[in-house]
Symmetry: C4
Subunit: 465 residues, 4 copies
């Protein structure tokens, strides 16, 4: 019918002219009338009449013509398709002018539009996250005393020096010095566990090596490393060994060089934290910020250990004490100093933001992996050798190792059915990883490019100014 | 020749004017005449004459000008290229108007057009799958009794409460409660196989551990785990162990806490299934639906086991009975409760749909892997140590483990030729996975975005309404 | 200068009008004159004058306006940028009309244009490969005898029946029957190596198992599977075993079921080959075609073995004969029957074409892997334990296993430097695979889509006809 | 307000006409006036007036209309969005004309523009790197003697013959000959470490094999290969073995065939280097170029070893000498000859350039991997068996092997917490690799395509010339 209507009305006088930014669109009255049931700006006579140019007998809109083409097609067909070569925010603006809503867009075009808009939204969030209010202490000029003002300016300068490497040359140098201290602290932390820095007296060393050469070490090797899950009763021996190991590790004195590095770093980070605390304008906001909490968590274990070492060394060596179980956790907390790197290396905190912004995709991937783990661990438990897959929870490890295609080989199915399940597990793992990585990657690249854009823009504006 | 024709006819009076939505296209009569052997709307004089505007001496079409540009080029050159920036459905509509078929499109442009159209088709299928008819019990108002109508409304409400989390607040809460029960049931299922929840009396435990510390266990370890394929004669010992293991596992009483959880979950899922069965309008359609079958399959094994446990416990402990071989299968069926998660986590059933929609790509990947497995298992069998690769079927496991790059290391070629074959296998595996994953991924992302679109659209329409 | 020139010449009368398919482009005489040093059609006065419309005082070209925009910009600036939304062949055609060559395109736009053109070229090659001339025996109607003509038609029908599943219903059924025979032959081939189908008499079996339980098998296990490279002297024992293994394998009679399947398949494939040979029109072309050679290679070993089995069975059991070394190779050739699948599964031969068309990318990947293997095997040999990495060629295996991230664990660096080299190897492997897979994947997807297009087009044309 | 302003001013006479290359854009005076606070060419009355055509009462710009659409929209809305279908350099040129800077572009459009521009920049750098000045010795015609000129031409020819395979047929042949020599040298290097080419006298061989069959070798196997980290005291034995191994390796005479190949290759590369040195025009630049340094580094170790072998063979066999520690390093340097391949295989040096150009992305990936290694090695050390994870540095190896999903299995967590950490490590590894590979890949493909473009362009131009 519409075709007939149009064909019949080819008298030529019922054409409507839309001049949009110089481009003249023509349509028929019949077309316009025939879809007035959908409501948007162009179906509103008041809106139209405001833009009517009586002299030239056309509607004149001072807008971009490209989007109007889509809008006019919407009027003609009732379906809103968008030009693919236009970016989301621009489209949004034009659609707003024409009174069209996001829900009017057809599914086939909505996707790229929505993605573009989501990116813009998440980048705005990224900008807010990057520049929290406590990072830029505002100048409270309420008090008139000169000293206070001077003090405030000094605080402001000091704050920027410590936190913004692009603030000045000195700030840049400070950033590098700070990075060196972080790396030093991490080095000390790692090295302290290595035998090269083990200065426990020779006799213990000799005993240790002696016992290792003895018969029982061979038993241990065959028991622990023959890729077999340990039965509860056999683990008793390793447990004793483990306890002894920890004792040895704590009773051994720290290497003087590392101790020195530790002390130096501790002083540096303590001073840094205190200066920042003093300079931060809304202090409570600073203290509760993630970076400050991480900094504190990275300092505290050292102080705690130092206190124990200085005032209660007997707690570190005495057996059968609760403190001995507490120590590994304390030491583990020292690993928090690695997180300090995140604040200092741009790529790392962009990745943090990416992971937070990609929370949905990431949790989807984890759910997939979890369900896969559950499923395949259950199945393998029933179809394969129960000597290898002793329980379903134990099978989780095998399933996850297989799905990530790491495949240590400490557990591997040996029956035909088990191997079929194993094959399916590996293929599913490959699929899951392949499915979810690309969406995560896109987020990261978007974020990374945006940060690059902001940095480059600031630099260019500085140069131009 | 055509160039000469055109050049010769530059008198200016034989131009034809096409006004398409305001944009005036000009071409020469000669051009139009010279390709009349191809049939489409514009070569039909009746069609053309209907759109001729005698006043302005031009053809006026109230259509989008962008596609007409392609159509006119088709008329000029006989080759139909499409604008890349236009989405499939819009192109389809316009091509239909101009009487052009899909087969007229050039191969270079057909691909993106076809992909776009396929996506639209598969998304429509997805919508149908998501909203089966039994999910929306229609109101059969034929009977006039008031009670029946009231009952019907109640059923409708109850049905929506149980199945559509976006129906109301209560439905959302119910969805979370239901998820908790599913997770509880899975936890119980997994935990029941772990030694922590093993309450078999100490004596058996002692015997078990005692035997493990004894001489023969060492033999078992070396026999089973030395990464060697078991010879038929040596498997006899593990077989006895396996049988004993299963006996122990079944004779051991279930931990009271897990038993309690199992009973609670069983009651919950039974009630849920019954209520759904009562509320579902065409009941036979509900019963045969996949979700209902899975729900039933997840309940039945528990009842079966419960019946056996209550009325025929001797079947569970008696040796040499058929039932003992049947039990692992029964227990394996309990793993079906993991599938319940799929209905409750959106990402999971989108993945299910993706896998179903990507059946062609998936089967292609599996065929590739299968052929690779066959080929490389055959070759490695002949070129490597027959002690490791005892038969071609046994080599399948090695081939698939290598091609997915899992590489457990339980089988690895040791001869030079075997290692060359192994290298080729690994590279082929990497290629196969790399070849087929991207097409699958695209499907998933499309589906996922579409569901997002639908959900967002529904939410926006609710807000706007 | 050009800006001044243009600005100065704003008298309005020196404008040149190009009407390209209805779109009027305007430029200044000065602009046109100022770049006459570059030669193409528009700089040729003869060409221009042919298209001049004296009535309307404009040049009229009955071409697509979009490309002319680029051409005009080339005239203005001397740099040829192409519209991104247009496909290669269309661009090529338009550029040819305007007398512009591929080398005139700017590097930034050349890439997508070139890729588009290369795809078109390789798809044309694919079409030629898919439809070799011998596949469509032409009707030689030179001889007038009726019998000969009838015979020819029969041959044509038979040929299509055997080779083109889309020819008729019968052809489709034949294709499936043929596939079943291929799968049967493969099954028989794989199963014959499995112990389930081993019907060697009990005594030999007993001896075998007895020897395995004996002392020496333990030595073998520790020697072969302790993940240590075999020293030359120790391999002598396995060699003897290996020889004995092969003897056993050949002296053992084939399982009657498998023997029956083998004979049936052999007959089927022989008949199929002969019929095809008779029907093929230029017979020499058929015989030398890849598919026919594979078919022959898959049949021959069976006949050879059969002949040996029937007429010279003593060759199969006699020790110290040359034939015994020849046998594994003969058996390996039986694996050729797997290649038969390729002709019968569309995905597989598309992959073959992809691999051939991606020869450049594939060889690049292999060169990368080879150089990486060479480099890292050399380095690891010098920095790690020479007991594990006994020679550089031996290190190749480790390097390739690490670079493909398979990581069997049969060889792994143990020294600190070795582990650093190992880390670099793994990262390089990940990079190499990541670098080269995407370009290969694109080729495959293009090919696969094209075949889909051709198949769909043929089906649609059949329906429409 | 702006909407009202525009609507109110619909008198029709205040329209401004911009004719850009034939396309007439119309806007309102009010729109133009209302955003005069932003400064660019169009807001400059002088600039505008220069382009005003008084006859036609319009501004006429002889530019591309597509970009002007964006520029006009910028004027209207204050936001600069760019057309997606236009390539960077073209946009840049147009924006420069309109006086718009990169910082004016909106973030949503900046990304693709910036990427396009960066690609152009890096490709220019690639061209400079590929054609260093010393590669094209310029003709210094200052001296008038005929001999000198002749000599110069000869040098030029010789230089091109040796370095540019596309220079002539002879140059191409030379390139292949050179490649064969490189491959020969690499083969000799690899083969010399293999036992097949070991010609040490039988007695030593016998002793060797005898000792291997003896008791102590079994101890070694269990000590080294039982996937256990070696304790410091136990490594003493391997150390002795290692030393003895190197002694054996060096005292053994080189196989005459390999010795002959080595000498031939050495002569060839020496002559090649000398000829190049003579022909290179600015010799100091040649000597310090990377390729020349690599060539020299690949020759020197051979000469050094030869000298030692000829004049001080006792240094090679004497125990407890410093030279013995120096030898592995010397031999390792022979691996440099592998780098010679890079100069001769185009794909390889393109990859080198890619890696250099992708320095930022690559270092980001390495930082990610490093931080992940640090973090997970620290955590696993505290939560898993200290017998396996003896120290944090030792855990690095496990972490990197897990994150690259190689998973040798020489170290694997055995406790529940350790396995949870291991799972997280594997997933993080997959994420890190997935995050950073795509950006690297894009660079490589861009570079690779560009080189293809250049090569093809040169070939086409040669054909056309
Ligand atoms: K692996
Ligand atoms: K592995």
């Amino acid at each position: 019918p519409p075709e007939d209507v149009r064909a019949a009305s080819q008298s030529g006088d019922d054409r409507v002219y839309f001049n949009v930014g110089g481009v003249v669109f023509q349509t028929l009255e019949a077309t316009i009338k025939h879809l007035r049931n959908k409501k948007f700006k162009l179906t509103d006579p008041d809106f139209l009449s405001r833009y009517y140019d009586y002299g030239r007998r056309e509607y004149f809109f001072d807008r971009d013509p490209e989007v109007f083409r889509s809008v006019l097609n919407y009027w003609r067909t009732g379906r809103l398709h968008l030009p693919a070569s236009m970016c989301g925010p621009q489209l949004k603006e034009e659609l707003d002018f024409w009174g069209l809503r996001e829900v009017d867009i057809e599914p086939c075009c909505w996707n790229s539009f929505n993605q573009s808009m989501q990116t813009v939204t998440s980048l705005k969030q990224l900008e807010i996250d990057r520049n929290p209010s406590y990072m830029h202490p505002t100048e409270e000029m309420s008090d008139t005393t000169n000293t206070s003002r001077l003090c405030h300016v000094a605080r402001l300068h000091l704050w920027n020096l410590l936190t913004d490497p692009s603030y000045s040359k000195a700030a840049k140098i400070y950033a590098y010095v700070s990075l060196v201290f972080v790396l030093l602290a991490i080095f000390s932390f790692c090295a302290s566990t290595h035998k090269l820095f083990d200065i426990s007296d020779g006799s213990s060393n000799l005993t240790n090596s002696g016992s290792e050469n003895s018969q029982d070490i061979n038993i241990n090797i065959s028991a622990n490393h023959s890729k077999l899950h340990q039965k509860p009763t056999t683990t008793s021996t390793p447990n004793i060994n483990l306890q002894k190991h920890w004792q040895d590790s704590f009773s051994s004195r720290i290497h003087p060089a590392l101790f020195f590095i530790d002390i130096i770093c501790l002083v540096f980070f303590t001073v840094e934290y205190l200066v920042k605390f003093i300079c931060a304008s809304p202090r409570c906001q600073f203290v509760t910020s993630i970076t400050a909490v991480i900094d504190l968590l990275a300092i505290l274990p050292d102080y705690l250990e130092l206190l124990l070492y200085l005032f209660a060394p007997e707690l570190l060596v005495k057996e059968n004490t609760g403190i001995i179980d507490f120590m590994p956790f304390l030491r583990l907390m020292r690993a928090f100093r690695i997180f300090r790197l995140i604040r200092r290396v741009p790529g790392l905190w962009i990745m943090m933001y990416t992971l937070r912004a990609s929370f949905k995709e990431l949790s989807l991937m984890l759910v997939f992996l979890l369900v896969g783990t559950l499923l395949f661990a259950s199945i393998i438990f029933f179809v394969d050798d129960p000597k290898i897959f002793t329980s379903i929870p134990h099978g989780f490890w095998w399933a996850i190792v297989t799905m990530t295609t790491v495949g240590y080989g400490d557990m591997a199915p040996v029956t035909a059915w088990g191997q079929i399940v194993g094959s399916v597990t590996a293929i599913c793992g490959v699929l899951i990883v392949g499915f979810t990585i690309p969406s995560l990657v896109n987020n990261f690249i978007t974020y990374y490019n945006h940060i690059e854009f902001v940095v480059q823009k600031e630099r260019l504006l500085k140069i131009l100014a």
